[in-house]
């Protein structure tokens, strides 16, 4: 995976080259074990393999080339950042590395130890200088979705150019007004950063691009209702992960091609696991790349994952911006409304999520749900109780897992997941 042709670029980004080589080596091995070992993969997965193998190479080169032509790069950690605005300002939006243990000790000098792995990871990646995406950013957008993140952004702001969006905690009219103001404040920040004005035409085009991307993901999710499951949960998760950092137009085209292949496969009743394999859905915290731990354990335990109710999953793709309309103002309203529909556990109450999980479990015809909360993630750990109640009333078994990015609990997790699969068989 380590390509010396990119060495100069990485040096220019001030990466710690030996540490970065180490990361790529581990990532490559991990990817080989978890992804390339799969049987009967789609041809369209070549795109996934390619993107992943070039994640710190060719994709960064593209970004650097565009930067050389004056484009700005905006990094994000959350599905609340309106990509439509970023693209309308002619900037590039990338999701930042937060799915692996890196620079943990250094991170723990900036954030308390009982902070979730995702937060420690993005701080660690920055401090260890091993994420070329983070290093290429002209602005990083945070959001107040939990106390851990909002306090971390204070410390992180000393290291990068930070813009923090305030996400409301309720969904009343006043909250919507505040969120609209935050959307406008983000628009201003983008215009100031890029020197570009977000025009009606540009915003309309950007909304179309992002809607098309979400439609491709919706199409993929729709196809996963088929029995036998036509694609592994691992590959579907990877697609969702890649949606945060590949070029959106290329991504949409490639995923639609992959969906064409899936349709053909479904028509022939072909699947990645035999009919009758227990179908599970993941629900809860996002799994940022390369966090494939739990899906891999599940799919090595005789089950197949058919849905991800998560920010790196349906929480990101479920809703579209409905108005691809005429005036800038109406489009901005439509954007504010679309993002207010996100059923993040940061809201109180958040009953939509309970309904959405139940509907999704039924639509996908799952045999069970595995609720995944990152250790120390209070919002999702709380909601595990609510989702358990909702699902148990709906007659869907649920297993609640709390874990992080370390491998020390893999054996215990295997026992639990295997026992859950035995139970629902």
């Amino acid at each position: 995976m380590s390509e010396s042709v990119y060495k100069e670029m990485w040096e220019n980004l001030n990466l710690d080259i030996p540490a970065h080589d180490g990361l790529l080596e581990v990532l490559g091995k991990f990817y080989g074990d978890i992804y390339l070992s799969q049987q009967g993969r789609l041809k369209g997965a070549e795109y996934l393999d390619f993107v992943l193998s070039e994640v710190h190479g060719l994709r960064i080169k593209e970004i650097m080339d565009q930067k050389a032509q004056g484009k700005k790069v905006v990094g994000t950690f959350c599905v609340f950042v309106p990509e439509e605005l970023t693209l309308a300002a002619d900037a590039i939006q990338v999701g930042l590395c937060a799915g692996a243990e890196a620079g943990t000790e250094a991170a723990e000098a900036l954030v308390p130890r009982n902070t979730c792995a995702l937060i420690k990871s993005f701080v660690g990646f920055k401090l260890a200088r091993i994420c070329p995406f983070t290093e290429s950013c002209d602005m990083i957008v945070g959001e107040t979705t939990c106390d851990g993140k909002k306090k971390t952004y204070e410390a992180f702001g000393d290291l990068v150019n930070m813009h923090v969006m305030e996400v409301p905690q309720q969904k009343n009219a006043t909250d919507r007004d505040m969120w609209k103001a935050e959307v406008l404040r983000y628009k201003d920040a983008l215009e100031k950063l890029t020197g570009n004005t977000i025009t009606t035409e540009k915003l309309r085009d950007a909304i179309r691009i992002v809607n098309e991307k979400r439609r491709a993901l919706q199409r993929l999710n729709e196809l996963r209702k088929a029995t036998p499951a036509p694609i592994s949960g691992r590959d579907a998760l990877l697609i969702n992960q890649i949606s945060f950092y590949d070029d959106p137009v290329r991504f949409t085209r490639k995923i639609n091609e992959l969906c064409d292949e899936l349709e053909a496969r479904i028509a022939e009743k072909q699947g990645v696991a035999p009919e009758g394999t227990p179908r599970l859905m993941l629900s809860g915290c996002p799994m940022a790349v390369p966090n494939w731990k739990l899906p891999y354990i599940i799919e090595s335990s005789g089950a197949v994952v058919v849905g991800e109710e998560s920010c790196i999953g349906t929480r990101n793709s479920r809703d579209l911006v409905v108005d691809e309309g005429d005036s800038l103002e109406s489009m901005l309203d439509a954007i504010a409304d679309r993002y207010m529909k996100i059923d993040c556990a940061c809201f109180t109450p958040n009953t939509e999520r309970e309904d959405n999980v139940e509907t999704m479990a039924k639509d996908l015809d799952v045999d069970g749900v595995i609720h995944y909360a990152l250790m120390f993630c209070q919002p999702y750990a709380h909601e595990a109780f609510k989702i358990d109640k909702t699902l148990s009333e709906a007659g869907v078994p649920m297993l609640a897992i709390e874990t992080d990015y370390s491998m020390e609990d893999v054996e215990q997790l295997k026992t639990r997941v295997e026992a859950f699969v035995e139970m629902i068989k």
């Binding site: 078994p397 709390e402 874990t403 020390e408 609990d409 054996e411 215990q412 026992t415 639990r416 295997e418 026992a419 859950f420 035995e422 139970m423």
Partner: protein
Amino acid sequence: MIAGIDIGSRSIELVVMDNDTVVRQEHLPTTFDPVRQCKSILSGLEPDRIVATGYGRKLVEGMDLGTTVETITEIKAHALGVFRTFPEARTVLDIGGQDTKAISLLPGGKVGKFEMNDRCAAGTGKFLEYTATIFQIPVEEFGSYALKGDDPPVINSMCTVFAETEATSLMAQGVAPENIALGLHKSIVRRTVNMLGRVKLAFPLVFVGGVAHNPCMARLLADSLECVPGKDIIIPETPDMNGALGAAHWGGLPR
């Protein structure tokens, strides 16, 4: 002939069944070389099928024993073991060397819901083993020792290391060691009762695993659940064999 083998963190148990009758039960310490111990416990046997369970179940699969090897999780094995011996049981509690499991049973020995401690061994046999050393007595005698206490302090730490610190400072305050020992047992029982609540405890409850040998645990559990030992809470004659028994039972079921 079917062999059920349960490779736990502390001991390995073997149950051999012939025509649905248990013909042999054995156990060995796991040690640092579980493969050798498995070979040793299985030596001289030529079963038609081996069913392995416990955290080392995958080890047996890879041992090339010249016969069919299947694996099931300890959750399923304990449910089946209890179902075989006490078909009327509704809940299983297994406290082993490094795991505690609460399992609610459906008719036919199927698992309805289960809870398990996570990566930390707090509230398991390991906790008792570790804290018994503070009193310089073997873990086998720790329960009887604790039963001599009559005024236990509340021990809040569930972490084994912190509990030791807490116990040491109680000793420094002059609290009788038997009472501290009783307090330590009570802390595990509190945690266990919570876990049982999460699987919606129903009686009869069958208590298995090595820790079921501990008389203080059995007494405290019955007290805090306000139920009748022997009727609401049942402890099998050989509670540590239950996992291996369940595995052997699974091996004998029609394929």
